[in-house]
Homo-oligomer: 257 residues x 2
DNA sequence: CGCCAACTTGATGGCTGTCAAGTCAGGTGG
DNA sequence: CCACCTGACTTGACAGCCATCAAGTTGGCG
């Protein structure tokens, strides 16, 4: 699960996805308010300038569009500047599974390094903006800047640990535990970005949540309803208000079983 | 799923776990027969000598002993020279889940980079031998040697892709598909090491297989029995003989549903 | 030889998937 | 402005798969 990081910006309550005014098209890492969450973490100003120089392209991706798709040649790592993505993989027979949801400050594309082709699809769940980081140049630079090298390794390792968390979730948790874990994880990540831990809007459908958690959409819906009856959360379509965070944590840790 | 790699050694049929004679205690990457599978892949002889210099410790781990445990400070990446390991994570309430099985030529410990503490336990499932690679020295060296840097990134990325594979397995496959995928994966990895694709000994219990696949041990046992009745495999305790690889592949791809 | 852990097999039950019918919210066009 | 349409969501009834519980078997080891 993601580590807590200091946030510089004042928390904006309950508007996690409001699109920031886009005056600064030439935005660079050095003045990006995500720099403490993203790749430049721990770099000096001088080092950050070198990283800025790599990022030639910043692109907007419209809701529903793909950033990359399975089989495409791998060339870039992508840093999410704003917005929300899902990654999913397809099986031969047409079934597919969501492997993750990514938000601002997180990296996309790490799956492509090993085969030099992407192994999953990355789809924007809302209008988003993404920094393109040419991977071979990132490797070059991280041979020069130790802090960058080390932080990049940490990010990859964090992805591995996150995946292990999902594996335990899928392997041994029941419906309510999975949903509780999912909501708490989102809450934590919104908090790290300066938003309310208790109130947010989901960007994904029940079906996408279910696909991620190994459940059917009806099961997700029923779990939300049950949590609402028990006073743990208030749900109104995609708007979530968590009323009892400790209660959700108890469910996740199975202290009630 | 792991990529196919060339193997230099002549295949030794059906003895994947026989312990090699241990004449060369001073074994180095340069004369290790796993070098094409392991970290030194793609390095020149000269570069490999530098990698050798990092590896001060080679340790034997007895069956059942831990290489590292959750919470211990992270210091080394470990390369398996011989033997077989499992990694598992524990939940607060005592439940635990196997997150992977590792064999010769694979790396252990990548989970520890992000927090500088290990986030899982690594336990030997048979007497094993492991090279200790000090991580900070590996980072230093991979700032010097581009090929090493790049291959290390590929290995981390491969781990992420592997985990995504397990997530799809846990999220949307039924019992028989999981077991078929598990057996085919082992078969593939043994093949890459020069062993028979069709015949091998499991090093793990039914319970450990079940834990990895999100199933109970009885369910694993029943699936093995069913495959045997159908003539797909022959099982005798931990000895597996795959009789019909295409048949298993069909089950995995759900062409029969 | 006897013990024990690992494994197999059977009977039963509960959880979650499946199928189906309806509700809600937002968007479009008349 | 409202009627309608559509996709997303909710809720109910039922079924099937896998977990659970239980009893027995096998093989390795002291």
């Amino acid at each position: 699960m993601p580590p807590k990081m200091a946030v510089k910006e004042a928390p904006a309550r309950d508007a996690p996805f409001s699109v920031a005014p886009f005056a600064v098209i030439k935005a660079a890492c050095s003045n990006c308010n995500l720099r403490e969450l993203c790749l430049p973490f721990g770099l000096s100003n001088d080092e950050m300038t070198h990283l800025d120089a790599l990022i030639s392209v910043r692109k907007r991706i419209k809701r529903g569009d793909s950033l990359y798709r399975v089989g495409e040649p791998f060339e870039y790592i992508y840093a999410i500047r704003s917005g929300f993505f899902k990654t999913d993989v397809l099986l031969e027979d047409g079934r597919d599974q969501v492997t993750g949801f990514q938000m601002a400050g997180e990296l996309l594309g790490l799956d492509g390094i090993c085969t030099e082709r992407h192994t999953c699809n990355a789809v924007a769940l809302e209008d988003s903006e993404v920094c393109h980081i040419p991977f071979f140049r990132l490797e070059n630079l991280s041979r020069e800047i130790q802090a960058l090298q080390h932080h990049f390794h940490k990010i990859m390792s964090r992805e591995i640990v996150r995946d292990h968390g999902v594996m335990t979730l899928l392997g041994m948790m029941c419906v309510e535990e999975r949903i509780a874990a999912f909501l708490l994880n989102l809450s934590q990540r919104f908090t790290a970005r300066g938003f309310s831990p208790a109130e947010f809007n989901l960007r994904m459908t029940r079906e996408e949540i279910g696909s991620y958690l190994g459940l059917k959409l009806e099961t997700v819906s029923r779990a939300f309803s049950r949590f609402q009856e028990e006073g743990l959360i208030a749900v109104q379509q995609r708007h979530i208000h968590i009323l009892d965070i400790p209660g959700l944590k108890e469910i996740m840790a199975r202290r009630n079983h």
